[in-house]
């Protein structure tokens, strides 16, 4: 028995491994309200005491702030360091410890291949525990480097342990790349980590379209199946009296099939919102998507009012209007490039024909759209007072900037020579596919 009521026991009194008295000794040591770790540290550093796991587990509850780093420095200087020790002593966050680890692990992993991989692996994991944003470039480099799989996995475990502190966009890119790695264990872990990030469907759904190793693909499908899919409300322009064009109806049907959750259309021109029951039944938040391509009055006034209506019934996650989505803008750019490629020599850049807009915001948006797509935007009047003008003619191929048939496309069809103006955007397969993919990946 240890005379705990008297002086605290010292290292010399610790029974050796195998002694039946060791276990109760350590348990009593553990329960001491205060224990000075200094004699124990000194005993380890001098070689008088072996830093065995059971002892370190007890001492860890009494460490001073500098003790772990001190022990790790001692550990690194040993001729044959025990790779298990770092995780037993160095897991608490400590800037000095992070500094030391960063200094121990150079940015170029190929320089370190002479060192025992199990020691490097221990340090990589430990670096993740530190959750120090400075470690991101190093861990990313190691996880992507052509080095033994065990080291790459250790770097990925480091990323896993510090997940919230890494730059989110760069982390997503890194994990998406790793999901297709030739090492299936690494790829599987990358998929699991992507799942832990907010809005993971945006990452997982596109991954599911890539050729992944079968076990990884299976894992991805399990993650997707377990990720809740919110009901979707698509706010669209619609036609007179709330009529919904067929392009939008078929889009919603296909989307509902792909997401496995309710999708409903709400036309701005309709007198009432759609039946809310299917959207509310699961008790999940509602994802509200303004499928509007321009930042006009509908986006600025009507959509907030619609969101407010639904917020009275459920939680609403409102997405930006479609025209602001970078993937949509890039898809328009591709479409216009295709048009330009087929144009006759001397014709100007393709045109994007749009409903006339007022206000500085709208003009800035149009300027941005021209910059991104390489096309030229052209306000195209179509309302009744303007429709009496001469037949429209364009000097370049043109796309109506509308998703589905409406009054603008009706007017264009009646006044523009055939073939000059393309069909509404959702009738163009590439654009429709991009939109479907993006909508499928929403929460």
């Amino acid at each position: 028995m240890i005379p705990l009521a008297e002086a605290p026991p010292g290292p010399a009194e610790l029974p050796s491994g195998g002694d039946p008295g060791r276990w109760p000794f350590l348990q009593r040591l553990r329960r001491l309200p205060h224990l000075d770790p200094e004699p124990w540290l000194r005993a380890i550093e001098s070689g008088a005491l072996q830093p065995e796991a059971d002892l370190l587990a007890v001492l860890a509850e009494h460490w001073s702030a500098d003790a772990p780093l001190r022990l790790l420095r001692w550990w690194a200087a040993q001729p044959a360091p025990d790779p298990q020790l770092p995780l037993l002593v160095g897991i608490r966050r400590n800037p000095a410890l992070a500094d030391w680890l960063l200094a121990q692990l150079p940015a170029d992993p190929l320089q370190q291949l002479g060192r025992p991989p199990e020691l490097l692996a221990a340090q990589l994991s430990l670096l993740g525990h530190q959750r120090d944003a400075r470690a991101w470039p190093l861990l990313r480099t190691w996880v992507q480097a052509p080095i033994p799989a065990s080291l790459r996995r250790a770097a990925l475990e480091g990323l896993a342990l510090g997940l919230p502190v890494w730059p989110r966009a760069a982390l997503r890119r890194c994990l998406r790349m790793l999901a297709a790695d030739l090492d299936p264990q690494l790829a599987a872990t990358a998929v699991d980590l992507l799942t832990r990030l907010p809005g993971c469907r945006r990452q997982l759904v596109p991954l599911s379209r890539r050729a992944l190793e079968p076990a990884v693909a299976g894992r991805l499908q399990r993650r997707l199946a377990a990720t809740p899919v919110q009901p979707l409300l698509l706010v669209v322009h619609g036609r007179s009296g709330g009529e919904l064009p067929s392009e939008l109806l078929s889009l919603a049907v296909e989307l509902e099939q792909r997401r496995g959750a309710p999708v409903r259309l709400q036309a701005l021109s309709a007198s009432a919102p759609p039946d809310g029951e299917p959207l509310l039944a699961a008790g999940l938040p509602l994802t509200l998507v303004p499928l509007l391509v321009l930042p006009g009055g509908h986006v600025r006034q009507d959509v907030p009012a619609i969101a407010a209506h639904w917020r009275r019934r459920t939680r609403v996650q409102r997405q930006p209007f479609l025209g602001a989505w970078p993937c949509w803008q890039q898809a328009l750019r591709s479409e216009l490039q295709t048009l330009a490629g087929a144009a006759e020599p001397g014709q100007g850049p393709p045109l994007l024909l749009h409903h006339p807009l007022a206000g500085a915001l709208a003009q800035r948006y149009l300027a941005l759209l021209e910059q991104v797509t390489g096309g030229r935007t052209l306000a195209t009047p179509y309302s009744a007072p303007d429709c009496d003008g001469p037949t429209l003619s364009f000097t370049a191929p043109a796309l109506p900037l509308v998703l589905a048939a409406n009054r603008l496309t009706d007017r264009l069809a009646g006044t523009v020579p055939g073939g000059t103006v393309g069909v509404p955007l959702l009738q163009r397969p590439a654009l429709r596919a991009v939109l479907l993919d993006a909508l499928e990946a929403l929460p």
């Binding site: 050796s16 491994g17 195998g18 002694d19 039946p20 060791r22 276990w23 109760p24 350590l26 348990q27 329960r31 309200p33 796991a53 059971d54 587990a57 860890a60 509850e61 995780l87 037993l88 897991i91 608490r92 966050r93 993740g128 525990h129 530190q130 959750r131 896993a160 342990l161 510090g162 997940l163 919230p164 502190v165 264990q185 599987a188 872990t189 699991d192 799942t195 832990r196 894992r219 399990r222 993650r223 377990a226």
Partner: protein, 525 residues
């Protein structure tokens, strides 16, 4: 019922100080934020003590990879719930696993702290909780794993266990006990429960079936005791209120100065059985006056009792195809080696329960799983499922009731890799001997006795021993544990057999004491 400890702050142990400063339940709304901060930023008391009020366990052997212990009252779980747990484990990749525990419960391993907030929300969605499943709390309440389907059932324990849990987790329940507390309800002749602090065993009084109260059972490194009769009989409906009263009294009067002398039996010893009973009854009366009889029960219904009961034999293993009390339906008991599950196994178990049964499973204290309510016409197809090659309905007599703690894969204090060693030794013994009947072997890694070695016909406890001049991993051997009509704790037989010799020593014991017959050695060409 949050009662401040009687001791002054200066005399409290560090555990008591931590509990007094902040109840771990208060961390629940902050869990998402704690995940973002990272566990490395938590103070020691929050990390190692308070999080356990939410069922979250920091594991020093796998720092950063946490364990979550659930509550599964009576060991009942649905396929939907199990599938949710499988998904949580699957997300942890190589780090993920789960254990069926000796309290008919499940604990998940390999989780990040960031996983906890969304996982707890998902658990709540499917009707599960991990609340107060660790540290100084009333642990998962066990009952007859065959409740409601057992042809030998005396009383269905499921509603009783559920109502006790509701009472204990409700506003009147304990938040700061001096120590952990195990409660169990028996419902069949084989409901051995004397290792619990509070056990209700079916018993008659004046021709009415109710429960006799047993108190004080526990295992620890310092002392092992079977529960003793309190001398009270209760109608079934009074169990929740009475349990609340026992725990309120324990919360007030239990020993907070010495954690190794704080289990209920020490309090019973301190007060004497008679005074303890009177104190509990007085507390119950006080509780009934405070909460009303609807919530706290009616102390007037308690009757003096001699402690005799209807439990008279050792627990059945429940394995294989067994007819239920419902005609045309069976349960299929599957042996889960050492209670260790992986994501794939869990998902498959859930699928089988959905496909062939009613979508419900039961977990046993022997760490096995039962698929229940399987119509006769589904049995053949179920038995042909590939998973049943892994989780066999007909394991060997040695495997059937082998129980194991976690071992040093996840515990700093285990002196051997318990589950791996047990599985390897049992497989080796199967090659060497055949047994006429099951032999219950309980494996535990250290004197804390989480694997309940004293309940085994053979108990094994991690130790060290010298062999060829070297200290090596070893096992103490205990013999003679009995859970039948004459319960008895196993006693030390050998103080340390090196693991490399363990199969030889156990083989000899099985032949000499358990009627094993040696199998012919495989031919060598």
């Amino acid at each position: 019922m949050s009662t401040a400890p009687a001791s002054s702050p200066s005399t409290l142990s560090k555990v008591e100080q931590a509990k007094a400063e902040l109840c771990g339940l208060e961390l629940a709304p902050r869990l998402e934020d704690l995940g973002r901060q990272g566990w490395e930023a938590l103070d020691e008391a929050t990390l190692t003590i308070r999080l356990k009020w939410l069922g979250i366990f920091f594991r020093p052997v796998t720092p950063g990879r946490f364990m979550l212990r659930l509550r599964l009252p009576n060991g009942v779980i649905t396929a939907e719930q199990l599938a949710v747990l499988a998904e949580a484990v699957d997300r942890c990749g190589e780090h993920g696993s789960a254990d069926i525990t000796t309290r008919q419960n499940i604990q998940l391993r390999g989780l990040l702290l960031e996983d906890m907030a969304p996982l707890l929300a998902e658990l709540e969605r499917v009707g599960l909780t991990s609340r107060q499943s660790g540290h100084d709390n009333p642990r998962n309440i066990t009952g007859n794993p065959l409740a409601g389907i057992d042809p030998e059932e005396l009383i269905d324990t499921r509603p009783l266990v559920a109502s006790i849990q509701t009472a204990l987790l409700g506003p009147a329940g304990p938040r700061n006990l001096p120590r952990k507390f195990n409660v169990a309800v028996g419902g069949a002749p084989d409901s051995f429960l004397l290792h619990n602090d509070l056990a209700f065993l079916p018993a008659h009084h004046n021709g009415e079936l109710g429960f006799t109260v047993m108190v004080g059972g526990f295992f620890s490194a310092q002392r092992n005791a079977l529960a003793i009769p309190l001398g009270l009989w209760l109608p079934a409906a009074q169990l929740p209120g009475f349990t609340l009263a026992v725990l309120r009294h324990f919360e007030r009067a239990g020993n907070r100065q010495q954690r190794n002398k704080s289990r209920l039996m020490y309090l019973v010893d301190q007060l004497g059985l008679e005074d303890y009973r009177q104190a509990v009854l007085a507390t119950w009366a006080e509780l009934a006056a405070e909460l009303g009889c609807e919530q706290a029960g009616d102390p007037a219904t308690a009757a003096a009792h001699d402690g005799s009961h209807l439990v008279n034999r050792a627990p059945r293993d429940g394995l294989g195809v067994q007819p239920q009390m419902q005609a045309g339906q069976s349960w299929v008991g599957l042996h889960v080696p050492m209670g260790r599950l992986d994501a794939e196994g869990m998902a498959e178990l859930a699928r089988l329960a959905r496909t062939y049964g009613s979508g419900e499973l039961r977990l046993t204290e022997a760490q096995n799983a039962l698929i229940v309510n399987v119509p006769t016409e589904h049995l053949e197809a179920l038995l042909a499922e590939p998973l049943l090659q892994r989780f066999r309905p007909d394991p060997s007599p040695l495997q059937a009731e082998a129980v194991s703690c976690t071992g040093n894969a996840y515990c700093s204090f285990a002196l051997m890799p318990t589950k791996g060693t047990a599985q390897a030794v049992l497989e080796e013994l199967e090659r060497r001997v055949e047994l006429p009947h099951a032999v219950r072997m309980h494996w535990t890694g250290c004197p804390n006795a989480c694997g309940q070695p004293y309940m085994g016909q053979i108990g094994l406890m991690g130790a060290k021993a010298r062999k060829d001049g070297e200290m090596v991993e070893a096992a103490k051997i205990y013999l003679g544990g009995a859970m039948d009509a004459e319960p008895k704790l196993a006693e030390l037989h050998h103080k340390g057999v090196p693991l490399s010799d363990l199969a030889d020593v156990l083989e000899q014991l099985l032949v000499e004491r358990f009627g094993a017959r040696r199998l012919p050695s495989p031919s060598v060409f």
